[in-house]
Symmetry: C2
Subunit: 338 residues, 2 copies
């Protein structure tokens, strides 16, 4: 769009969200004085309507998801957020009224998320596209120098933990998919009450980055990543990156009461829960000598953490136990947006 | 696209470009130890096929433009590049072969630009979209603490300078537009030889961020911005942001020999040159006492810098002189991509 119109949009909707370093979004660039003695942790994620969210999703959930998925990466690295930049591509075919009707709730929700996670808007860009709505966020965080928690440093003997509950968002996506397509809800959903279904939908729409766990990871984890593309696939990715294998019992996966109810109704959901995406929980490896301290600190931080197994040397074989306690192949282990 | 395929793409095309902080693009996030005593300067720009470039443009020029426009912002702020993050949205309809045919030259050219400007790839994300090819880059730079050159601090009496030459890219865009649409080249283009036309096209395709001028701006400029959306509009934007007005004679605008030849052929091009976009030159304000030193240092840095006028107080009226030395309104003063 023309720079004039872009400036109007920015002044109206985004300048109020800008942190001090954003300079009111009136300059060519943002300014950030890095906290002394800290390393910067940087992550960027792009989301597109029809891929990572539905075009019909509420703007509020798009805002919460776009910022949340980036902050989830920072949390997994033990980092505290410093700020973010946003590039937003709005459909050319939108009228001025449509644009305003979308931008107002989007910007309001983005500001609320930014305030909640202490992560101010620093800058960005708004363009028009002949394609679907899409957005890209780059988030910056800080960790003490040399202390970023890697994905590549899990050690044989480490205990594997997962935060929160796994699989809710995959069920939420299934509910939302049926809704958007005008199809009947899956059969298992008929055993759930409205509050349970809303919980699952909300888990799909609004990732809660586990930033409260970041200092605990810094203190005690040997390796960590966020669970975004399915627990089993992400677990395998962390093990491969660390040159180790997992011995995990996936019957131990922490499930929410609605996910448990769905699984009772439809035992075939086990793979969906274990391999679905969009959890935005933390998967980490903790040395056995630190396990008790890790559990205590996680509890103090208000974040549930569940043991699901151990890290083993590549001299042994991977061992992932499925619903019957059997060695389970998990052949389709990663969520694909497409 | 699925995470597996995305990981393959990243490993193959982008991991070789990653700087040390990119951790081989194998972790959730990048790591950057900020240089002590420096502020970070952050900028993000998105580009979409059909808006900022043609879908048919060579991947090399898309790479050069995407990184160049961001580094141009850093240069204008007096910053030295530290690195960048890239999110890339590839059309879903592309076959694997099309994807490779595009990504290989794109990544190669991006790596060359990154090496040329000492700005390594730190991280990013690759997704598939139902829309056109698009990409978003966030670039980070460093300036001594408290020294970022603002857009908002031009003072009455300051001398206005423009780097390089203005209007080439607007003419290059006109040539390219005719080419893509299969139309006849504009009449003025028939007075130009092939080398001149290629020069204009290259100026449109490959912005050369004026990073060599960054230390000179830091040392001597009171305000600065990059010229991306048309000189006149950007000049007015800088003046408005600073609460001042310009008194400039746009007959002084530095024009390249091909642009001069085109203007001789078609005097109506004056507005296109002065108001067209994609120059990626620097517009800056320099206190009169520093003007001689600024000119000397710019020359030492190998960057042409041309006086085009002065900054005046808002107590006086803006005065922009057009081709006949007349007060010129420049009603359509900013380039619109759409």
């Amino acid at each position: 769009m023309g720079r004039g119109r872009e400036q109007d949009l920015i002044a109206r909707y985004f300048a109020p969200l800008a942190g001090a370093g954003g300079l009111g979004l009136r300059d060519d660039a943002a300014l950030l004085t890095p906290p002394p003695g800290m390393d910067l942790v940087l992550t960027a994620d792009a989301l597109v309507a029809g891929g990572h969210f539905f075009a019909e999703d509420p703007p509020q959930s798009v805002a919460a998801k776009a910022l949340g998925v980036n902050l989830s990466d920072l949390a997994a690295k033990g980092a505290a957020p410093l700020g973010f930049l946003l590039t937003l591509s709005l459909p050319q075919v939108w009228t001025q009224a449509q644009r305003e009707a979308w931008l107002e709730p989007f910007a309001k929700a983005l500001g609320e998320s930014a305030a909640q996670w202490l992560c101010p808007l620093l800058g960005g860009d708004t363009i028009a596209t002949s394609g679907p709505l899409s957005l890209s966020i780059t988030a910056l965080g800080a960790v003490p120098q040399g202390r970023m928690v890697r994905r590549t440093t899990a050690m044989p003997g480490d205990v594997l933990y997962v935060s929160g509950s796994i699989g809710d968002a995959a069920l939420g996506l299934a509910l939302r998919m049926a809704e958007v397509k005008g199809e009947a809800a899956p059969e298992w959903a008929q055993r759930l009450d409205t509050a349970q279904k809303n919980f699952l939908l909300d888990r799909y729409w609004r990732p809660r980055p586990r930033l409260a766990l970041a200092p605990v990871l810094l203190a005690r984890a040997s390796a960590s990543m966020d669970v975004s593309d399915g627990l089993v696939g992400d677990l395998r990715a962390m093990m491969a990156a660390s040159g180790v294998v997992a011995r995990a019992d996936l019957r131990l996966l922490p499930l929410s009461p609605p996910a448990k109810a769905a699984l009772v109704a439809e035992p075939g959901l086990f793979e969906t829960l274990a391999c679905g995406g969009d959890d935005y929980e933390i998967l980490c490896a903790v040395p056995p000598a630190s396990a008790a301290a890790f559990e205590f600190l996680a509890q103090q931080a208000g974040v549930p953490a569940t043991q699901i197994g151990f890290v083993a040397s590549v001299a042994t074989a991977e061992e992932l136990l499925g619903p019957e306690g059997e060695l389970h192949p998990f052949a389709h282990d990663r969520f694909s947006h497409f």
